[in-house]
Amino acid sequence: MRAQTTIGGLACVALAATLAACAPGTAEPSSGGQSAPATVDFSSFKGKTLTYVYFTDGPDEKATRDAIAKFEQETGAKVNLQIVPFADLNTALQARLSGGNAPEVARVSDWHPFADEAVDFKQYFGSDYASEFSAGAAGTAQDAAGHMYAVPSDSTINGPFINVDAFKKAGVAVPTKWTWEELVTSAKKVAAANQMPYAVAIDKSGNRLSTVLSQFGTVMVGKDGTNALDKAKAAKALTFFTDLVKSNASPKDFWLGSGSKYSGANEIFLAKQVPVYLSGPWQVGAFAESAKFTWAAVPNPCEERCGGFPGGKFMVAFKNSKDPVLGAAFVQWMNRAENQTEIDKTAFWLPTRKDLTEKGFDYPTHDADMKVFVSQIRETPEDTWPAGFDPAFTNSAKALIAETDKVVAGQQDVATAVDNVSAEIDKAIQGAK
């Protein structure tokens, strides 16, 4: 089969050199069909090996390794964990898939590009498998036709951290509810009292910036996959945010200095340069380890709406891998109630399972902070879930960052930026179809 492809390819290139007439790559992947539900026998995996391509945000690596050890013990299978840098995850996966070397399982932030290569978990675990997960999470893992090409493995919700010591020193009460106006005023006061150069820091990320958009009352992509950007509200949000950055109340050099890449403002917060930092629960573990001051997670500021913006990661199993059944089984195992609980506790992840989100569980450390994030899930408007996980979100978010950059750099005004973002959202939606 492989040899044939190569020979076919050779003939192709001979032609291509002159007229570019041959389809490159392998043929359309065999869809596998919607055959009868596959049976999964966990006792049959002894001695088998699966590959899990993974990226880590830090504390979750240990949690994952512990869970894998348990899986290996229970099933007798071996898991080959391959950790790649997040920035290069897609490159590595694309290469492996195009080279006919698909891993059994991968952790991804967006499963849509892999949908045509991914296992439909409903085929293995029944058509109501999706209902094991909370409504929001389950919705993000299925396509319009009801295929479940991914399992939501962890969810996040954005929210601010504050430097409690600095707030105390400035005599500013730790907030329980605030508006953006109040947040900026208190933050500036705290910064001044502590000789901190900045008031608020926000990660350079489309997901974090979408939080501000949502709080000002709008999302980019609507539930039905249409352009839902309210230009007036977006303009208000962007004006507010870019003014913060331009005036250096939020670090301007940080925002402009990292190009198109994601960039975390965590070190600015850790270095006591800023009293308020908008990020998410994945920072809890790292702060617990390296912050040299008292800090706390606090509720999001409310403007027109409250709450944060959801994010989350998925596990996908590839049907062209050597052992797709084992892959699917591993994903299911990792997301059983007891196993997800264990991972979440160490990794400071928020659960995705319905039973876990309803019942809740206590984190061994920093439980109060984690509970703040959990409370933010309830505050967060419902339209942010479809907005944040629509196939068009990634590209829209990229445009949002790029256009905001230009405003901060003084190259265009907010109105133009909003128009451009809106046009890019249309394009992204078109491209995602």
């Binding site: 840098p85 080279g99 270095a271 340069q273 790292a286």
Partner: protein, 299 residues
């Protein structure tokens, strides 16, 4: 240059001048131009090394001190925390072993096949010589980023993924190496080869006994090139060496640095460790490297 140039000769060329440089000038005061030149050179050298020294000093600072304005030069409370917490996630010995194996093996292979190809292109007149040379020259300009997927497909269908061989063989036929070696071999006198042929030496013997020893300076340059390239390779090992057990140092660093929750001071510390390693290797081999490069390596 018409006789065989061995390492011993290379070394013996420098001392011809040295006596006048170190000792015999001691009587005379240095001229103005010497003073100006030395000052410029030393100032420039310090400027070149400064960012590295700065990074090394910074890596001993805590996150707070690192963020201080104005910055401190010497760390006030030197801490090795960055190193301990930065490195504990790191199986340095494993990555180092892989890096060394890949670098050494790839360099040996590169030297062997590049020099053979260069010899053919420099000293034989045969059908297709120009075409082969142009192809070589052309492919210097294809960056890997650009043909990543097609190359990976080839490597994967040959079953070389996830093996150190997959890191060693594909990049070995460096066009730059062929180019540099050919340029050098062009300067070797043809008469010598002719004479050897008249004496009945075989083609391989001529290459092995005459051409290679004569090309030693150029081979040194290509070896240095190859070591630097393979040691610093990032994108290719990233996608080919999928198992952690096959990863090399740059890939491991990138993996470490891309975590959302890793502070910059730790990234800096890990970076400094890698710099120190390569700098130590470099300083140990420095004499050979500089000599190889400056003793008429490329003409």
């Amino acid at each position: 240059m018409s006789t065989t140039l061995t390492a011993a000769d290379t070394a013996s060329r420098a001392p011809e001048r040295k006596p006048s440089t170190w000792t015999s000038m001691s009587g005379r005061p240095p001229s103005t131009s010497t003073v100006v030149r030395t000052t410029l050179l030393v100032a420039g050298a310090l400027a070149v090394v400064a960012p590295l020294v700065w990074a090394a000093l910074s890596s001993f600072k805590s996150a707070e001190e690192l963020a201080q304005t104005p910055p401190t030069l010497w760390p006030h409370n030197p801490t090795v925390d960055n190193y301990t917490s930065g490195l504990q996630a790191f199986d340095f010995a494993r990555y180092l072993t892989n890096s060394v194996i890949v670098t050494v093996a790839a360099t040996v292979l590169t030297l062997a096949i590049n020099s053979m190809a260069a010899y053919a292109l420099a000293k034989f007149n045969f059908r297709g010589r120009t075409v082969f040379f142009l192809i070589t020259l052309a492919t210097i300009m294809i960056p890997l980023q650009v043909i990543l997927l097609p190359v990976y497909q080839v490597v994967s269908s040959l079953g070389l993924t996830n093996s150190l061989l997959g890191l060693i063989i594909p990049p070995a036929a460096t066009p730059t190496g062929v180019f540099l070696l050919r340029q050098y071999m062009l300067t070797l006198p043809d008469e010598m080869i002719e004479a050897a042929r008249v004496d009945g030496a075989g083609e391989w013997a001529i290459f092995w006994r005459i051409i290679l020893p004569l090309s030693r300076p150029a081979l040194a340059v290509v070896a240095i090139f190859s070591v630097i390239w393979r040691w610093n390779d990032f994108l290719w090992p990233l996608i080919v060496a999928q198992d952690e057990s096959k990863q090399t140092i740059p890939v491991a660093i990138a993996r470490f640095a891309s975590q959302q929750a890793i502070p910059f001071n730790q990234i800096l510390a890990v970076s400094v460790v890698t710099i120190v390693r390569i700098v130590v290797i470099f300083l140990l081999l420095q004499r050979q490297i500089i000599a190889g490069l400056s003793q008429g390596a490329i003409k």
